[in-house]
């Protein structure tokens, strides 16, 4: 069946995180937030950040309306950056963005393995933005900018 070809994009882990994200929902309190909009398709995500006394990200949350790819990406992102310092999260973003565009990861580690199910988007140029939108919102929240748009 032809839709099985799509298992490279819609891996079970993506369908699971897309359907039942574990980091969704606006928290009662947070230190920083930013929204990401994709004006071409109408997808929206808002990221909420809190920090521990050492400045590390604690329990990042998001509120999103979008496709399975963008929701799953937001949820996996929250898992990937929890416990990281802002600069570490920025470095993960750069590596993730490269993997979403090329399908390759030059320096795999545990964090990138967590995100690897999303590497399949590189075969779907119109969907790369779906995967990177929550990350742009995260970057804007780390900078205190409030608003991000996908490239």
């Amino acid at each position: 069946m032809s839709l099985d070809d799509l298992r490279d994009l819609y891996q079970e882990v993506i369908l699971q995180h897309g359907r039942h994200p574990s980091h969704a929902g606006k928290p009662a309190t947070y230190a920083a937030t930013a929204k990401g909009d994709n004006p071409m398709c109408g997808d929206r995500v808002q990221v909420f950040l809190s920090y521990d006394p050492a400045g590390r990200i604690v329990d990042p949350r998001f509120d999103a309306r979008g496709c399975a790819i963008s929701i799953a990406s937001a949820d996996l992102m929250a898992e990937a950056v929890a416990g990281l310092a802002p600069d570490e999260a920025r470095r993960v973003f750069v590596r993730f963005r490269d993997m979403a565009r090329t399908g390759e990861c030059a320096d795999p580690d545990e964090t990138m393995e967590l995100l690897r199910p999303l590497a399949g988007v590189h075969q779907y140029p119109s969907r790369v933005k779906c995967a990177t939108l929550p990350w742009h919102a995260l970057m804007a929240a780390l900078e205190g900018e409030g608003q991000a748009t996908s490239e």
């Binding site: 069946m1 032809s2 839709l3 070809d5 799509l6 994009l9 819609y10 369908l15 359907r19 071409m40 398709c41 109408g42 997808d43 929206r44 309306r65 979008g66 496709c67 399975a68 790819i69 779907y124 969907r127 779906c130």
Partner: protein
């Protein structure tokens, strides 16, 4: 009236006119259900443009040589084609634009700023494309001309009583409204709209981008004042569209863009304008695209609107019936009078995911807000997937859509 049935349309012959329809996508035969975004092009259009480039191309309206004269004739013949297509009273009422968007912007600029007065209002509906919203926001902010919005019903039809109430204070100078929704497929009741608007002293512009693909348009019978359409949805090239307007309105309106071709004379101090329609056609136009549009119009006329409309009506009914049986699928818009555009949502599957899965099966649909964000908000949704039909669409392609959507449902289920 002859009794036309879908069978009068020789689909195999029509499809053989479109070279692209024999392409495959991801190894599957192309099922192109995105014609409302832009239609495919018949051989006649492709040949007309190639032939012009290969045998008789030059700039138009100014050359004193054979090539320019032949090209001018071919380009200007499209003005006659467009006038005939719309049943315009006069070929000088046909203004060439880039597309419907530019046609509406032309009216917003030249009629909105040149004829309407601050304190007057423009009335649109709640199911407009952004191209019939944004120019009026710009006019409002620039000139203090109020923008009013007539609501729609939950079925996706214009609320005609509410529409009339928006006109009652006599301030509305122009009604600018879609003739067929690009999202819901709804036809607006054009004759009734014109009757009500004129009774309250307002002119009427129809955005006919979708309607003219599916229905014969007679601007004199409709009684409207402006009609806009774009070539690329009517099997023609991109970059060419038409604004039809009553001659007296075009004469009263100041120019849109300034430049060559639109003047009568130019001195260091001032310019005087050419007569309509040239007053609104500054600069070298889309010559080849204009020639291609003429071929597209003649292609549509040769098939005939009666046959096209009957075919698409049958397709739409087939689609509504097949899609209605898919669990979790909701058809958006249930207008009585509707054309071959069907939007839907599916529980548990976002429109973009649906579109990606359909694409893998060779099926092209549109997904998103369809440049109609206010309508999406009115409907309480973020996006839809949309299948749209054309003269070349087969019933079996709708079956392929329905069968694949059933599998999409299982995929995300």
């Amino acid at each position: 009236m002859n009794d036309f049935s879908p069978a009068t349309l020789d689909i195999a012959r029509i499809r053989s006119d479109f070279p692209i329809l024999s392409q495959t996508v991801h190894g599957k035969p192309l099922v192109f259900l995105d014609s409302a975004a832009s239609a495919q092009k018949p051989r006649a259009v492709i040949d007309a443009m190639v032939n012009a480039m290969e045998t008789q191309y030059a700039n138009i309206h100014r050359g004193l040589h054979w090539m320019s004269e032949r090209t001018t004739e071919a380009y200007e013949a499209t003005r006659d084609d467009a006038a005939r297509l719309l049943n315009a009273a006069d070929r000088a009422e046909i203004v060439f634009t880039r597309n419907s968007t530019e046609a509406i912007n032309l009216v917003a600029h030249s009629y909105g700023r040149g004829v309407l007065k601050p304190g007057q209002a423009v009335l649109i509906s709640a199911m407009e494309h952004h191209s019939n919203i944004v120019p009026w926001h710009m006019l409002r902010d620039d000139r203090g001309i109020e923008l009013r919005i007539a609501p729609i019903t939950d079925a996706g039809e214009l609320d005609i009583d509410a529409f009339e109430r928006k006109l009652e204070d006599g301030k509305v100078g122009l009604v600018s409204i879609t003739h067929m929704s690009n999202v819901l497929g709804t036809y607006t009741p054009a004759e009734r709209i014109v009757q009500i608007a004129h009774a309250h002293g307002a002119k009427v512009l129809f955005d006919g981008s979708q309607a003219i693909v599916h229905r014969r348009i007679d601007v004199q019978a409709l009684g409207c004042d402006f009609y806009a359409f774009t070539g690329h949805k009517l099997y023609g090239p991109t970059g060419i569209g038409v604004l039809w307007a009553r001659r007296e309105l075009l004469e009263a309106m100041p120019p849109f863009l300034g430049g060559g071709d639109m003047i009568s004379s130019v001195t260091d101090e001032r310019s005087t304008w050419a007569a309509a329609p040239h007053k609104f056609e500054a600069g070298t136009p889309a010559i080849l695209e204009g020639i291609g549009l003429g071929a597209a119009i003649r292609w549509v006329e040769a098939i005939g609107y009666d046959a096209i409309a009957a075919h698409e009506q049958a397709l739409t009914e087939h689609a509504m019936s097949r899609l209605s049986t898919i669990e979790g699928l909701t058809i958006i818009g249930r207008a009585q009078d509707r054309g071959g555009v069907v939007s839907f949502t599916m529980a548990g599957a976002h429109a973009h995911d649906i579109a990606t899965l359909l694409d893998r099966s060779g099926i092209a649909v549109r997904a998103g807000h369809h440049c109609a964000e206010p309508l999406m908000r009115r409907l309480g949704i973020d996006s839809t997937a949309r299948a749209s039909f054309a003269a070349y669409t087969l019933p079996s392609e709708i079956d392929a859509l329905a069968d694949t959507l059933t599998r999409v449902r299982e995929f995300f289920g």
